[in-house]
């Protein structure tokens, strides 16, 4: 007995050590190097590197643009997300319609980040079909408006998902109580529903804000020269001018708002939340509704935006099947032929990277959960925070930090596949880590105590009881990691090389070379791969965990 527990102890110690090492090398070290390059010149601390960007009019505009854009996208995205969430949770509609709405909002989440940009370019750009349809010739779509529309459509689903959860968790009895106390439908919304959802709204805004702030792909395609933002400027600085110092300094300017958002989310929003999981949702009565006017407005908005999203995706599909958009509209499979010949390496590489990274990320999530929530080793809070740090930071920052850190000694990884895998694993495992930690907290302690008192050791309990119970969470996290390994670009655009390329970078190349049809075909292929992959992973999850996500003791 003593022997085995000693052995366990050794394994545990090694696990903790390995995790700290991994976090040190792939999270802390790149960030330290980034800050070093930003503030350390010739052996002393200086603000010298930041200066050009704060003095220069053009770069200062990038800062302002980034903030303004993120605020605008955050506000609009949150409003649209709320309208969608309200429709799904508060209006009585058939189940298939709810499913359809959720499916439409899911599309932008699993698509490569350019999808709406490409479709918008084809609709509203030069020779765009919508412009031709409405007879508008002098409409300059590039710049703020294009980026704003595209990012809003891409990121409102994030707000939708957050707010749906919040609205579902508000005990319907509270609203019923307000009704029976004589409140009108609008007043119930104003005095009960809205205030309870307010922290969720703030959180949704911050999420969308930080997504927009960090977004590289959309402004790269749609921003144009007249609308610089920080991520595109940083990209230009690094790949265009090989100016690592400038890139690092711009990244630092991006870190500040990202950290402010993080701080607000963790220390402000979380403290103002009244909504808790009670576990017993009362039946939602169907007689009440928000009144015909609000219903009409909500349904109108939902229909219009859903239709627009579907329209954009059909543009991509059609675009991939015709020769030259707006010029030669004859059907062809040439573009797919192009994708599977010239693009086959990118597809293969992307799949390899995603398939290698996903299980590693799953294991990482389980181990972090094990060490922080189960063992509660010294400094587990810090470990948890650090493990989520790469996700908190904008992708561009992570990418620049990686290229600075792993370009020279002691660790040279640039040009290899490892740097790409590491970037994905340590950035997108966050969902898995959070899921695992959340579901570990949900497991009734008596379940683990039951196992212990039946004679199981701590490690046996963990692997036989706890891991199966958190497996649905791990699988969901792995799915997230896989999808993002397939579709992400902001971090990895800096890390691709001749040897290892990605589908997303190929799409970007096609866009800059104005090969829209090929870009569309690449996007469609990518979306199909992601769909199949997430279907397969859901299937695996169902077979591995037949009882589903049941972490409770009672039910």
């Amino acid at each position: 007995m003593v022997k085995s527990s000693e052995k366990n102890d050794l394994v545990t110690k090694f696990t903790v050590f390995a995790l700290w090492m991994a976090m040190g090398v792939f999270v802390v070290y790149p960030l330290v190097r980034l800050l070093g390059v930003t503030f350390w010149v010739d052996g002393h601390f200086t603000f010298e590197n930041l200066k050009p960007f704060l003095d220069n009019w053009y770069d200062r505009r990038a800062i302002v643009n980034s903030i303004v854009l993120a605020t605008a996208v955050g506000l609009t995205g949150t409003i649209i997300g709320f309208i969608f969430a309200f429709a799904v949770t508060r209006l009585s509609m058939p189940a298939w319609l709810k499913f359809a709405i959720s499916a439409v909002t899911l599309l932008p989440l699993i698509s490569p980040p350019f999808t709406s940009s490409i479709a918008l370019t084809l609709s509203l750009g030069p020779n765009g079909i919508l412009l031709q349809f409405f007879g508008l010739d002098n409409f300059n779509f590039y710049g703020f408006w294009g980026t704003y529309i595209s990012e809003t459509l891409t990121y409102f689903p994030i707000a939708f998902m957050t707010l749906t959860t919040i609205l579902l968790r508000i005990d319907p009895n509270l609203e019923d109580a307000a009704y029976s106390l004589g409140s009108s439908p609008f007043n119930v919304f104003r005095t009960v529903t809205f205030p309870l959802a307010a922290p969720g709204l703030a959180n949704a805004f911050l999420l969308v804000f930080s997504c927009s702030l960090a977004d590289f792909a959309t402004p790269q395609v749609l921003g144009g020269h007249s609308f610089p933002v920080l991520p595109t400027q940083a990209y230009l600085q690094i790949t265009g001018m090989y100016d690592f110092k400038g890139g690092a300094a711009l990244s630092f300017l991006l870190i500040i708002p990202a950290l402010i958002v993080y701080g607000l989310q963790n220390f402000w929003v979380s403290r103002r939340s009244f909504v808790t999981v009670t576990g017993k949702a009362g039946g939602r009565s169907s007689i009440k509704g928000p009144g015909p006017l609000i219903t009409a407005v909500v349904l109108g908005t939902v229909t219009f935006i859903s239709a627009f999203v579907l329209y954009l995706y059909s543009i991509i599909l059609i675009g991939s099947l015709i020769k030259v958009w707006g010029v030669d509209n004859s059907l062809t499979f040439e573009n797919y032929h192009y994708v599977f010949t010239f693009g086959s390496k990118a597809i293969k590489d992307t799949l390899i990277i995603a398939c290698v990274g996903t299980p590693i990320g799953g294991l990482l999530a389980v181990l972090i959960g094990y060490v922080t929530k189960w063992l509660k080793v010294k400094g587990h809070k810090t470990l948890e925070t650090i493990s989520l740090l790469n996700y908190t930071l904008p992708g561009t920052v992570v990418g620049i930090a990686y290229i600075i850190a792993f370009n020279d000694k002691p660790i040279v990884l640039t040009g290899t596949v490892y740097i790409l895998i590491a970037a994905y694993v340590f950035r997108y495992s966050s969902a898995g880590i959070r899921n695992v930690i959340a579901s570990l907290t949900q497991i009734d302690p008596s379940i683990e105590e039951a196992s212990t008192s039946l004679g199981a050791s701590s490690a046996y309990t963990f692997w036989k009881i706890t891991v199966p119970l958190v497996l649905p969470a791990v699988m969901a996290g792995m799915k997230y990691l896989f999808i993002h390994s397939m579709t992400a670009i902001s971090a990895t655009i800096f890390l691709v090389s001749v040897h290892w390329s990605l589908i997303t970078t190929r799409i970007l190349e096609c866009m800059t070379e104005l090969q829209f049809a090929q870009a569309c075909a690449f996007s469609i292929v990518l979306i199909i791969i992601v769909f199949i992959a997430s279907g397969v992973m859901s299937l695996i999850a169902k077979t591995v965990c037949p009882v589903g996500n049941s972490t409770g003791g009672l039910r």
Partner: protein
């Protein structure tokens, strides 16, 4: 009978909101082999904490726990050989019933055949032979609780610990499970520690009851002892219903005493656990069902009816005793056919036989 488990001066302190909080203080207890002993008390009295310390889920701040004479205070929970039945059953939701019950046997590395045989037996004992292939969420609450019981029975532990196992069941099922658990405990002559806040449950099931309040033992004894001879006003009130009438002990006469209530002398038994002193203030404990209206009895207190509740089998009269205006007492008069319900406001005398009343220290 031999001593199976022994708690020696067990205490448990917590730091709660920066303040030291004593959950259990100086508990001494000897549990006999084959005994069914219940920890009874209101929530927060320390009964569950005591049970969890015995199970090894919590460590005592001081004191020792002996199992079969061996000090197990520092032995981890998984090496104590005790079975724990949880309030919320704590079945493993991802395992079928068979695997839930087989869990402990697999850890002991028993052969597949032996595991199969024992799981069958254990499930048969709780009447769930056909549930093996189901998942816990496919069973009702009562069935889940029986699986939880089978899961510990199958291991034949030295002691079974149960933490309010019936509190999540509906009233009817609870009554049924009481007898079930007691039957199994007797059949297998198990040593069983049982936590509950339901005094009826404690009275019907236990060999002995340990009444706890604010972390310490109020009284330890058989259900009959607790009911018949409560050691404190708390026990008197917590076990069954009791009228606690204040007064003075006038004199002692063998097992009996003369008790003065507002100038009227009446006779009652003297409490043995905690006998009062002559001339001091004391309490008369008398159960509602032992009081009756009688006009020509010596052992009676004048009362005034303030409320009547018809309960079917009996009438619950709320009465006030003269001179003790701020308290109402309860009289349970059996309802017989043709009986007249007395009106509120009437004045009567409440009488009882001297054996039915107990005088205890205040």
């Amino acid at each position: 009978m031999s001593v199976a488990l022994c708690l020696q001066n067990i205490s448990r302190h917590y730091i709660k909101d920066g303040k030291d909080f004593t959950a259990v203080s100086s508990v001494d207890l000897e549990v006999q082999t084959g005994e069914f002993l219940t920890f009874l008390g209101p929530s927060g009295c320390g009964k569950t904490t005591t049970l969890r310390m015995i199970a090894g889920f919590e460590t005592p701040s001081s004191g020792e726990i002996l199992l079969d004479g061996e000090n197990i205070t520092k032995v981890p929970a998984n090496e104590r050989d005790m079975g724990f039945v949880f309030q919320n059953y704590a079945l493993f939701p991802h395992m079928k019933i068979f695997d839930n019950v087989a869990y402990g046997l697999k850890i002991r590395r028993e052969t597949t055949d032996s595991i199969k045989k024992k799981v069958h037996e254990a499930l048969a004992m709780v009447g769930l032979e056909n549930a093996e292939g189901n998942y816990p969420n496919q069973l009702s609450g009562g069935e889940q609780q029986r699986v939880a019981l089978a899961r510990v029975l199958v291991l034949r532990p030295k002691i079974i610990l149960m933490d309010e196992p019936l509190s999540n069941l509906d009233a009817k099922l609870r009554l049924h499970m009481r007898t079930e658990i007691r039957r199994i405990q007797r059949d297998l002559s198990l040593t069983c520690l049982y936590v509950t806040h339901d005094q009826k449950e404690a009275l019907t099931m236990s060999d002995r009851i340990m009444v706890m309040q604010r972390g310490h033992i109020e009284q330890l004894g058989s259900p009959f002892d607790l009911y018949d001879d409560p050691a404190s006003p708390f026990v008197a009130d917590f076990i069954g219903q009791a009228n606690l009438i204040p007064g003075t002990l006038v004199s002692k006469n063998g097992d009996y005493g003369i008790f003065n209530v507002n100038g009227k002398n009446i006779q009652a038994r003297l409490g043995k656990q905690n006998p009062p002193e002559v001339g001091k203030e004391a309490l008369l404990v008398v159960r509602p069902e032992n009081l009756s209206f009688a006009s020509c009895s010596e052992n009676a207190i004048p009362v005034k009816i303030v409320n009547t509740l018809f309960e079917g089998d009996k009438i619950d009269y709320h009465v006030q005793v003269q001179g003790i205006a701020d308290k109402t007492y309860s009289m349970g008069i059996p309802f017989l056919p043709g009986m007249q319900i007395l009106d509120v406001g009437l004045e009567r005398e409440a009488s009882f036989v001297p054996q039915a009343g107990v005088i205890i220290r205040r």
